[in-house]
Every structure is written in structure tokens, then in C-alpha cells.
């Protein structure tokens, strides 16, 4: 039996009620992402690319169609199971970093494991290991306000990777970085990809997207070019 696809979407829909009208952020998306692929989703704002990512991340539920991540049909998961999906099956990197300012970097990186029942000493050990892998050991005991944008995003990537996810998701990860730091982050993604990490990246920047193995273009909630 073949290993399941990293992501498999079929006629995926996501509509929002807005007053009397409904807006379709996803209007029937069908796509497949193999394990180990580095895929970029491109499109103008409002094209539904972020919604797609959020649905795969388990942050949002589709209103129609099916989506499987690492073989698991997300529609069948209740809230508790969806939380486990977020902590173990996927790792998410945001444009706004979304680190907790009151925690040290190493505690931020270890945070997902706190909700997966891992002991404090074990999760700090794993967080330090992954920070070392990303060259961030020197920053482990710092507060987030002492870090540069590039370092913050590197810490966020470390946090996304700590659960050893089937797929790394990134929503405009370079959006708040200068070009040098943006380039360094993409280089990190390429390096992770080379270590066979599946990566799904959302961006509107063609230069960033160009680093991916494959580009999926979206417009008005539909895939226009795979």
C-alpha cells in the first residue's frame, strides 16, 4: 500500500455569510500534494489561498467537499481531535510570527508539546535540539522582544517543526521580513525540503514562490493553474 498523500482536497468549499449574500473563499478546490513536495500557493489577496491553508491546518472547517491530510479526513474530527491534528500532524508558520512575548524562545518552541502531554524536561530538551538544528541556540533563553524579525520567524519555524509534522504550513512567512531575512528563510525551507520535509507555502510574491518545486495558482477561490 502506498503512503497517503500529504494533502488531498476534493471539491473543497468554504463560504462565509456576509449580510444577505454569501462569499465563497473556496469554490471547489481539488488538488493533491505528495509527501516530500515543496509547493507554493500563489494568488492575489482574496483568492482563497490563506483559507486553503487554514483548512489544511485545521483552523477552519470546510463547508463542502473533503480534505485529507496525511490520510486523515478532517471533517470527521471533533474539536479535541482537530486540536491534536494541529499539534501533531501539521506545523504552522504565520506572517505575524505569533510567538508569546511572555515566554522565552525555547518555551515558545516547546509550546505545542505542552498540549500533547509531553513532560516539561522532555519538551525543553526537544526544543533545544531543534533550535540547535536551526542555528538558534544562542537565542534560546531570550525573550521574543530581544530577537530580530528573521530570528523570530526562525523560532516560529522551530515551533512548527517540534511535533515532527507530516506537513509544514507557512502563510506569507516572509511578509514581515526584509529581503535578506526573507531570502534566508526561503533557504531554510529549501534545506528542510532537502531533508524530505513536505512544505506548503502561501505567498503573493512570485520571487518567493519560484523557490518551490511546484506552484499552484489560485483566483476567486479556484485553482487556475497547477
Amino acid at each position: 500500500m502506498n503512503a497517503p498523500l500529504a494533502v488531498e482536497a476534493l471539491d473543497l468549499e468554504r463560504t462565509y455569510a456576509s449580510g444577505h449574500t454569501t462569499v465563497a473563499a473556496l469554490a471547489g478546490v481539488t488538488l493533491a500534494i505528495q509527501r516530500g513536495e515543496f509547493v507554493a500557493v500563489m494568488g492575489p489577496s482574496g483568492s482563497g489561498k490563506s483559507t486553503l491553508l487554514n483548512v489544511v491546518a485545521g483552523l477552519e472547517r470546510p463547508t463542502g467537499g473533503t480534505v485529507r491530510v496525511d490520510g486523515e479526513d478532517l471533517a470527521r474530527l471533533d474539536e479535541e481531535a482537530l486540536a491534536r491534528h494541529r499539534s501533531r500532524r501539521v506545523g504552522m508558520v504565520f506572517q505575524a510570527f505569533n510567538l508569546l512575548p511572555r515566554l522565552h524562545v525555547v518555551e515558545n518552541v516547546a509550546l505545542p508539546l505542552a498540549f500533547a502531554g509531553v513532560s516539561v524536561s522532555e519538551r525543553l530538551r526537544r526544543a533545544r535540539a531543534i533550535l540547535e538544528r536551526l542555528g538558534m541556540t544562542a537565542r534560546a533563553e531570550h525573550r521574543t522582544n530581544e530577537l530580530s524579525g528573521g530570528e523570530l520567524q526562525r523560532a516560529a519555524v522551530a515551533r512548527a517543526l517540534i511535533g515532527d509534522p507530516a506537513i509544514l504550513l507557512a502563510d506569507e512567512p516572509t511578509g514581515n521580513l526584509d529581503s535578506a531575512n526573507g531570502a534566508a528563510l526561503i533557504a531554510l525551507f529549501e534545506e528542510l525540503h532537502a531533508q524530505s520535509q513536505t512544505v506548503l507555502l502561501v505567498t503573493h510574491d512570485a520571487q518567493i514562490a519560484a523557490h518551490a518545486e511546484r506552484i499552484i495558482r489560485m483566483r476567486d477561490g479556484r485553482v487556475v493553474d497547477v
Binding site: 491546518a57 479535541e80 504552522m92 511572555r102 505545542p112 498540549f115
Partner: protein, 410 residues
């Protein structure tokens, strides 16, 4: 992790905790006050007598004051009571007419009280000599104050014979206060002296002697007295104070009025239950105010940390994790506030007790505030419970928050 949050908004947490502490302290103080009062009352009741005792009175049930309808206590009554379940012993008592003892220059009024050996009234209060025994005749166990009229001290009175005059006019000074029939003198040997705290006038004499004196006073025979006048009362002893109610019921079914300290204590307990309830209610209002404070703090905390909740949810916190986090925060407030309040209550009670002792240096009153382990644990549990209850709605709000909209919250 929530401990970190507790430390973060320090002033707000401290104020909320202070609210809980004051509420808890008030509950502890008020209930301790009621407990102390109850203890004092109970202690004075226990000093009066034995809770296992039921006294059968020669009246119909429901007797009180002037409306009492007499009813004769006979040996038949005694026989019936002896077979009632949980009855350990039935002791007959017959009070002979009032009299006096003329000795040592002073006349002392006495109440000759005919009792059986081992009767509850004749136990464990001796200053000298012995209690009444089976087969005793023409002897008496007398109070210490009268013993000192006939001898230098209680011990020296033992073995002395005194003249007990039964019947006739009994005077206090020149005023006739009682007495009946023709006075008749009986020589009785003092075999025991009891502490006059129990009674300053009672002469404990053998039942048969008292019946004879009563009969001769009225020109009757002892048997006639037994059958027509009947005994003055019966002391019925239960095997355990918890069975007193059963015996009281049996006595009433036989048609006699009864009295027991146990029933008095039960009524007092009931009264104090209500008293405690009211005081706890007053303290409870303070805790309720504290609870509103907790709820307010928690709502603020949830609002402030909306984005944080979003982040935690995004990286895998389940709704239950989030709820636990906020409930734990409420629990910290409850536990810290409860412990602090308990300490405050204990200290406050001790200080007030000490002040009262200093104001009344001679009487050395018993503690007014009494905090038992059940009150201490109960107060802690109450503080924790109130805090969790107050934290429940805000925690649920945090739990139900959508991760995405929380992430977008600024």
C-alpha cells in the same frame, strides 16, 4: 503556565485574591463564633448531668406548670420500663416530706430523698465516706455544708449519728415555708458526704426509709404509699445517649411525662444550626462579592489574552486545554485567597479572644471563636468552589473562542 499569568497582572490578582480572603475570613469568623457559643452552652449542659438519663415524672405527658395532671408511678410502671429496649437501669425515688436536722446549734432545712443503691444522683461526688449500698437502713449521705454543721470537716462527720426530723412546719427563720403532718424524729448514721454543689439540702437515704417516713407522716403503711401516692420519680438510664429518644417515647406511651437533657441538647443543636446558617449566609454574601470580582478579573484576562488564546489553539491547544488553563487561574485565586482568609480568620478570632480575656482578667472565659478542622477545610473548599464557579463562564468563553478570529484580534 497559568501561574505565570497569575504573576503577570500582579496588582489585579492581588486585589481579587484579597476579596476572596476577606470573604473567607468573614465566613470563618462568623461560624467560629457560632461554634464557640454552642460549645460553651453544651459544656454547661454537660456539667449539669448525664445525657443518658431520662427522668420519669408523676404526671401525664405534656405536663407543664399548673396544668400538670398527676399520675401514679407504681412498681408496675417500673417493671414495664425495665423491659423496654436499651434501658440499662431503672431507679425509683421517693421524696419524704421536708424536714430539718437539729444539730450543732443551727437548724438546717433538709429534703430527705429516698433512692436506690447505684442511683445516678448518688455517684462520683463524694467528699468523704461512701455512697448508699444495698441493705442500708437508717443511714444518710449528706451535703458537705450540713456535714460541716455537725463536725469540723466532712471526714469527721462520717460515722456520726444525727437526728433527722421529718414533717411538721419547716421554717426559714420565722417564716413557715412548708412541711406537713406531725414531726417525727429518726436517727440516721452519716455514711457519706457529697459535694454540696449538687444540692445543699438533699439527704440521700435508703428508699425504704423514705417510704416509711412518708407513710408514718400520713398515718399509712409503706405499701399504701407505694400503691396510692406512688414514687416521686424514676431515673431511667439508657445504654447509650443515642437511644434516649426511644426510651422517651416508651415513657410517654406508658402515660408519663419525661425529661431528658439529651432532648434539651438536641433542641439547642437545632437552634444553633439555624444560627450558624444565618451567619454563614452573611459571610457567603461577602464571598459572593468576591466571586463577582474573580469573574470580572477573569473576563478581563480572557479579553486581554485573546490573541494568546488564538496562538495556543493554533499550535494545538484543545478547547479543554484552554478551559483548564483559565480554571486553574481561578483556582489559584481561590486557594491563595482561601488560605489567606483562613489565616486572617484564625488570627482575628485569637486577637478578639485575647482582648476579651484581658478585659475580664478574673473570669478567664472560655474561647469565643472555635475553629475545628472541618470548618478550616470547609472554608478552603468553599473558597476554591466559589472561585471555580466564578471562573467557569469566562473559561468557557475562552474555550469557545475561534482560533482564527482570536489570532486576528489586536
Amino acid at each position: 503556565m497559568s501561574l505565570g499569568n497569575y504573576g503577570r497582572a500582579r496588582l489585579r490578582s492581588a486585589l481579587t485574591t484579597a476579596g476572596v480572603a476577606i470573604g473567607t475570613a468573614l465566613v470563618v469568623l462568623l461560624i467560629a463564633l457560632a461554634t464557640g457559643a454552642e460549645d460553651n452552652v453544651r459544656r454547661s449542659i454537660f456539667s449539669i448531668g448525664d445525657l443518658r438519663l431520662v427522668t420519669v415524672q408523676p404526671f401525664q405527658p405534656g405536663a407543664n406548670g399548673l396544668s400538670a395532671v398527676p399520675r401514679t408511678i407504681t412498681d408496675d410502671t417500673v417493671a414495664k420500663l425495665k423491659v423496654v429496649a436499651h434501658v440499662d437501669g431503672v431507679y425509683r425515688q421517693f421524696d419524704a416530706p421536708l424536714g430539718m436536722v437539729v444539730e450543732g446549734g443551727d437548724d438546717a432545712t433538709i429534703r430527705p430523698q429516698g433512692i436506690e443503691p447505684g442511683a445516678p444522683v448518688d455517684r462520683g461526688d463524694l467528699l468523704a465516706g461512701r455512697h448508699l449500698e444495698a441493705g442500708d437502713r437508717a443511714v444518710a449521705v449528706i451535703p458537705g455544708n450540713i456535714a460541716r454543721l455537725v463536725a469540723p470537716n466532712a471526714g469527721a462527720a462520717i460515722g456520726r449519728t444525727v437526728t433527722m426530723r421529718v414533717g411538721g412546719a419547716v421554717k426559714l427563720g420565722s417564716t413557715r415555708i412548708g412541711g406537713s403532718g406531725t414531726p417525727r424524729d429518726y436517727g440516721v448514721k452519716i455514711v457519706g458526704v457529697f459535694d454540696e454543689q449538687a444540692s445543699q439540702t438533699s439527704f440521700r437515704i435508703p428508699l425504704e426509709d423514705a417510704l416509711l417516713a412518708g407513710a408514718e407522716n400520713r398515718g399509712l403503711t409503706a405499701d399504701a404509699i407505694r400503691q396510692t401516692t406512688g414514687y416521686s420519680g424514676l431515673a431511667v438510664e439508657a445504654d447509650d445517649s443515642t437511644n434516649v429518644a426511644d426510651i422517651v417515647r416508651a415513657v410517654q406511651e406508658l402515660g408519663f411525662s419525661s425529661f431528658s437533657l439529651k432532648q434539651v441538647v438536641e433542641q439547642i443543636d437545632q437552634g444553633f444550626g439555624v444560627f450558624k446558617g444565618i451567619l454563614a449566609g452573611i459571610g457567603g454574601v461577602a464571598l459572593l462579592v468576591a466571586a463577582i470580582g474573580i469573574a470580572n478579573t477573569m473576563v478581563m484576562s480572557v479579553l486581554e489574552r485573546t490573541r494568546e488564546i488564538g496562538i495556543m489553539k493554533a499550535v494545538g491547544a484543545s478547547p479543554r486545554d484552554i478551559r483548564t488553563l483559565f480554571l486553574a487561574e481561578a483556582a489559584y485565586v481561590g486557594v491563595f485567597g482561601g488560605v489567606l482568609g483562613l489565616a486572617l480568620g484564625l488570627a482575628g478570632g485569637q486577637i478578639i479572644d485575647r482582648v476579651i480575656r484581658q478585659l475580664n482578667p478574673r473570669t478567664n472565659p472560655a474561647a469565643i471563636f472555635v475553629v475545628g478542622p472541618d470548618l478550616a477545610l470547609g472554608a478552603l473548599a468553599l473558597a476554591l468552589g466559589v472561585a471555580l464557579l466564578a471562573g467557569f463562564l469566562p473559561a468557557r468563553r475562552a474555550m469557545r473562542m475561534s482560533a482564527l478570529s482570536a489570532l486576528r484580534y489586536e
